[in-house]
């Protein structure tokens, strides 16, 4: 009894201290206050996230994967909120355990209790094991496992192994939802004690037959043979099988068919008896929508409700955000790694018929300090199609070299975001649409410059 009271007091103290930190960092304009409050509260009560998650009326949905976490989390929040639920979620891409803690703190009341029905948390792949342990989610969603920031996380394989162990150890009431089209994710699912719910695309008319250079995880986990791909959708996600029949793409429980793509503007697909049509573009987003659909169905939201609600969805920060800048229509698309970049370039060039680009590369911690991955991006897709390409960001010079060897006639590299915007004005005219594809902090920098010049709102207010 006494111990219980101490716990409550500690939890309340942690909540208050965390909340005060958040307010302070917003007042002093030191950023969105998205992670620091989590650090402070966790120092006072290391179990604070578990305690707060227990306050949720229904429980949590945890989303991980290399690409698409933020969009999928946003989709799920949108669906839950539309159904009248109070949702707590770590929205600003703050996807380490501290970010999730900070988000929960922000919604906790003065009594230290979290006042929400659902938690929707996007969690970085490397942090998934601790997140699953602390949050004890009702649903865990794994979107994909692509090659990402090798400098920070170590290698794909060791991350996949850790995720596998974390999911295997979950309690029986929790549901795992996995992308059947991703061979590395499928390998995780096939070794789980309880079968997961599988989702996958089922429309070969929008597939290609060859893997891009960025692809990895292409061997059979049992015999080591190179996998045969009958269809490739995004990165190494597609329909695959081992030549010795040792391993194959699991048959998806939830399938997307009849997919129609319209640039960055919209997509349509049939899933679970409903027709989804919504203002989000790109094949990679079909996966995010399908994943969100699968999770929403698993907690008993109806297919018709989901389809209806998604019609009015708005994308998250820097993900297909549109900004007007001195008569130019900028389309900001976060592009963080080879698989993501290949898709955003493909969508911009093939589907949106874009010809003018700013490509931004930074090498800060959040971007990955190793930029060698740009050589795995097929910038060759721009060759002969793009008329203006401005390399920008801290590592603009590296991009310039990459573009040169791709045969793209790029503008001079601009390491300063102000100079990059000036170059954009110089090289484009009023009425032009310019696709701005950037890594995380390169996008923050460019966006901050747009805010300074009065063309965009600070991100934590959008």
């Amino acid at each position: 009894m006494c111990g219980e009271r101490v716990d409550v007091i500690r939890k309340t103290a942690a909540v208050w201290a965390g909340k005060a930190t958040g307010t302070l960092s917003r007042v002093t304009r030191r950023g969105g206050g998205t992670t620091l409050p989590g650090d402070v509260a966790r120092a006072i009560d290391p179990q604070i996230l578990t305690r707060l998650a227990q306050d949720l009326t229904y429980g949590s949905i945890v989303i991980t994967g290399t690409n698409g976490k933020t969009t999928t989390a946003r989709l799920l929040s949108w669906l839950l909120e539309g159904a009248g639920h109070r949702v707590v979620s770590n929205r600003a891409g703050a996807n380490l355990i501290f970010g999730a803690t900070a988000a929960a703190l922000k919604r906790a009341g003065p009594d230290g209790r979290l006042r929400a029905d659902w938690g929707v948390f996007e969690i970085d792949e490397a942090s998934l094991p601790s997140a699953v342990q602390e949050i004890k989610p009702r649903v865990t969603l794994v979107l994909n496992l692509f090659r990402d920031q090798l400098d920070r996380y170590g290698e794909l394989e060791s991350i996949a192994k850790k995720i596998e162990r974390a999911l295997a150890d979950q309690r029986e009431t929790s549901r795992t939802i996995l992308n059947a089209d991703d061979p590395r994710v499928a390998e995780i699912g096939l070794s789980l004690p309880r079968p997961p719910l599988w989702f996958g695309l089922d429309d070969t008319s929008i597939a290609s037959r060859t893997l891009p250079h960025a692809a990895d995880a292409r061997t059979c986990p049992r015999c080591g043979s190179s996998l045969i791909f009958d269809a490739v959708y995004v990165g190494h996600d597609g329909v695959y099988r081992c030549p010795n029949q040792d391993f194959a793409r699991p048959d998806p429980d939830i399938k997307a068919t009849d997919i129609t793509l319209n640039g960055f503007d919209s997509l349509a697909m049939s899933v679970g008896g409903a027709r989804i049509e919504m203002p989000l573009g790109g094949l990679y987003n079909c996966y995010n929508v399908l994943a969100a659909f699968s999770a929403a169905r698993s907690i008993d939201l109806s297919a018709d409700y989901i389809a209806d609600r998604l019609r009015t969805f708005k994308a998250a920060f820097g993900r297909q955000e549109r900004v007007e800048f001195r008569g130019r229509h900028l389309v900001l698309v976060l592009s963080k790694n080879p698989a993501g970049f290949n898709e955003t370039v493909r969508t911009a060039v093939d589907l949106a018929h874009g010809t003018k680009f700013v490509i931004g590369l930074n090498d800060r911690k959040a971007d990955g300090t190793d930029v060698s991955w740009i050589w795995d991006v097929d910038f060759e897709q721009l060759t002969g199609k793009a008329t203006v390409v401005i390399p920008a960001g801290v590592r603009a010079h590296d991009l310039a070299v990459r573009l040169k060897y791709a045969g793209v006639d790029a503008e001079p590299p601009q390491t300063d975001s102000g100079a990059a915007l000036d170059e954009l004005i110089k090289c484009t005219g009023e009425g032009d649409t310019v696709y701005v594809l950037c890594t995380y902090t390169a996008m923050l920098d460019l966006r901050a410059e747009l805010v300074r010049r009065g063309w965009a709102q600070p991100y934590w207010e959008t």
Partner: protein, 254 residues
């Protein structure tokens, strides 16, 4: 650009990429593209041969081999294949003057052995006199090296390292260079990479050759020199060297 190579007879230039699907973790395509493009820009007929598992033909046609790094899982998959199908041909090709650039895992596998933290030894193919032992801490970050290869200009090489192996050179190998920034082979002797005959081994990726065009030309030039004595015509390297200098400048600020 486009000026023909002086005195090249065959006009062909062939790059052999060892295990492009499995040993391709750190943007290694940059090294391949740089070799191919820089040969093309000089009017050579540049060709890439992908040497996956089981492949052994055409290895004697190769001018420059590239052998990159892989994850442990992939490295284990090529381990036997390297011995069975590649070792002899590679040795003969190198004996005939073919050049080899091996990075990270490829570098380790060309040496005598890799010893894990538990003391277990995985034999390499011993083409270079180096040995590698597992270390505790991963070395991750920018590297600047002052190279000891004759005639390279600039004398610096820039790249990015990410490895936990500690590699030590035997008397048969000379270092690729001295470490100015970063850790290099083992973090203790301030040396990076190795040069032994026609083989260069290194931990630098990033990719290595795009920002170090002088090293790319060194490999192309040496491979071609066995067929004729001509040198390579100069190219406009301002973009490559601007990226090179940017890393140097940042190293100096730190």
């Amino acid at each position: 650009m486009g000026a023909a190579i002086l005195g090249n007879v065959s006009g062909k230039f062939t790059v052999g990429w060892l295990y492009p699907d499995l040993m391709n973790i750190y943007g290694d395509r940059g090294n391949i593209l740089t070799l191919l493009k820089r040969a093309e820009w000089r009017g050579l007929d540049a060709k890439l041969i992908e040497l996956g598992r089981g492949a052994e033909s055409e290895m004697l046609d190769v001018d420059v081999f590239f052998f990159g790094g892989g994850q442990d899982r992939e490295q284990a998959l090529i381990y036997d294949d390297l011995r069975q199908y590649k070792q002899d041909s590679l040795q003969r090709a190198v004996g005939n003057g073919a050049q080899v650039l091996a990075v990270c895992g490829g570098y380790q596998l060309l040496g005598h052995y890799y010893q894990t933290a538990d003391g277990e030894r995985y034999d390499g193919i011993g083409l270079i006199d180096v040995r590698t032992e597992a270390g505790k801490k991963r070395f991750i970050g920018d590297v600047v090296v002052e190279t000891e290869i004759e005639g390279l200009s600039p004398r610096t090489l820039v790249g990015f390292e990410n490895h936990s192996g500690r590699t030590f050179l035997g008397p048969g190998a000379t270092p690729l260079g001295k470490v100015i920034q970063g850790q290099g082979n083992n973090g203790s002797d301030r040396l990076e990479g190795c040069v032994q005959g026609n083989i260069i081994g290194t931990y630098l990726h990033g990719s290595l050759l795009p920002k170090n065009p002088q090293l790319a030309d060194h490999l192309i030039g040496r491979a071609l020199s066995r067929r004729d004595g001509g040198g390579l015509s100069p190219l406009d390297d301002s973009a490559e060297l601007a990226a090179h200098d940017w890393i140097l400048q940042r190293a100096q600020r730190r």
